[in-house]
Symmetry: C2
């Protein structure tokens, strides 16, 4: 079996900076583009910082055709600043983090009322808002508790292009169906794993991420929605490289590194479920339609030839362990 | 403030074997005795293996007055074997593990019907049954799913001395109230932590145990029951030393090491909640009454002088990291 994907997009990607960027960027070049997260240290909050970051990404891509859809870390701002952001080449939208909710999000928003005037302007100007939707509650409830905020945003700013990032629950899918003005991304791992895989047997730090993997019924609902080609559900890997030493130590950082294996593994899953014809929508068409994107020309062909996933990616002095490290997955990219 | 405890007992303790036993045993000598778990490799299934283990424990205690209440790993057996077990000095009861549910439990029971004739005999002979009550389901549901088995056991063997070991849910407490012929143990950590502490921020392997810590409402219910002096709820630390290298690596083993800090921390918690007068029941009297025990003479006096917990216990080439490693707790044992 085989499939050729046209301009696959990763709608939620962490590329980091410095040596880690140099390691990670070339491992995403099977994609035609990706929405790049701004949670560096310090976060990317200004157009000039964003442009600098985009240049470093371009350099790290080493000539590969790839569209980095750049985001700014959401902070309240006025019309002039928003216009300046929108006019910056490569700008895609804002990423909003509740304060302190995940890696490098300390400067995030603690009260949505702070954001009101900015969100009104963004709605008028057609600037997308991407949200890490978790409360500060009990870890298994955080996404569900945040749904009230999504409901508020979708109601108060009906024309705002609002995305629920990396959803992990059946409840978030229900909200997606309820509000046609919301879209959502979902990761590879949340189509596959549950909390059982993270902490049900031994503790597995390389599968620990935020939001944490939830219950089997959540995973199953997300998988069915993806397989069905839900028109407002998009693939966003949330691939998050952390140095191996930070993942395999006490106080392990949150994030699963999936960029280099995402497309083959997605093809395997969609094929195994007889839904290969919906993969194009999930990894590209839904996003292009929703955001009116025209990514660079690129096709990727995958086939059902197994590949062995490297135990570790090493370069520039960094080491990152991917999902399925050292294991075999059923599909691969053709040469 | 001060309290003197009479013959404190740890009703669920892992002492391991070899060098780890030599490290761990002296760290439990503030207790007058403990129920010793049999999940060595291979498990302790015969009276002679149990006697050998009891001798090694006595040697490791180095003369301290301490009653090891020895358990055998439950396997189906006939009357002669049960009589032989009961007549073995130090024998306390059987520990039943569902097959494969925790550390070294591969030889456990996969179908409770296998156990029927043995349990009938144990009921007649007054031999206690201690159960690790988890199903093989989703990690957050395992204890609740197992309650049907407890219900079955309590109904079918009404005079069996049945203990739900290391309970972690409000649902298990409800069952305890429903069946006066069941008792339960609860650990220190399950009175304090929830899944948030294990995986809500960074991943914290030293707080990872089985059953995994549950929801805040479960922790709160367990704490209230302990503080209230519930007559059939007993302290069992489930203190489980693992070599530091096995806790701080990928695939970290389950278990929290609390033996050396359990009594001071319990005193701190009971005092902070104005329930110090119920600590004696929780750490000794309830168990003595239920099991008709007469432990060795020992008193321990605790006071509200802070102590700093060692970052790591090292001896005999082993290293074990305790709960609250390197932190200060509010109470300590008087010299």
């Amino acid at each position: 079996m085989k499939i050729t994907l046209n301009a696959p997009l990763d709608m939620h990607l962490h590329l980091r900076d410095g040596d880690m960027l140099k390691l990670a960027a070339p491992l995403s070049t099977d994609f035609a583009g990706a929405v790049i997260m701004p949670n560096l240290v310090p976060p990317v909050t200004t157009p000039s910082a964003m442009q600098g970051y985009a240049s470093r990404i371009a350099a790290a891509m080493d000539g590969a055709a790839f569209s980095p859809y750049m985001t700014l870390f959401f902070t309240p701002m006025g019309e002039k600043e928003l216009i300046s952001a929108r006019e910056t080449p490569g700008f895609f939208g804002f990423k909003l983090y509740p304060a302190g909710i995940t890696t490098n999000s300390e400067g995030g928003i603690s009260d949505m009322a702070q954001a009101d005037s900015t969100l009104k302007l963004m709605e008028e100007m057609g600037i997308p808002l991407l949200v890490h939707g978790e409360s500060h509650g009990f870890v298994m409830d955080r996404e569900q508790e945040f749904l009230a905020v999504y409901r508020h945003l979708a109601t108060r700013y009906p024309r705002l292009k609002l995305s629920m990032e990396h959803i992990t629950t059946a409840a978030a899918l229900q909200l997606l169906d309820e509000f046609p003005n919301i879209c959502a991304t979902v990761t590879l791992q949340h189509l596959i794993i549950t909390l059982d895989d993270v902490a049900g047997g031994a503790l597995r730090p390389h599968l620990f991420c935020k939001p944490i993997a939830k219950r089997p019924e959540d995973r199953d609902a997300l998988l069915q929605a993806a397989l069905s080609g839900h028109p407002r559900l998009m693939f966003g890997s949330d691939s998050a490289p952390h140095p191996r030493c930070r993942k395999e130590a006490c106080g392990c950082a949150a994030g699963v590194f999936t960029a280099p294996i995402a497309l083959p593994k997605l093809a395997e899953i969609f094929a195994a479920n007889g839904a290969l014809e919906n993969l194009q929508a999930f990894v590209s068409d839904n996003a292009c339609r929703w955001y009116n994107l025209t990514p660079v020309q690129k096709t990727v062909t995958l086939h059902d030839e197994p590949m062995t996933v490297p135990a570790c990616y090493r370069s520039y002095g960094e080491q990152v362990v991917p999902m399925y490290a050292g294991e075999t997955i059923g599909w691969s990219i053709t040469d």
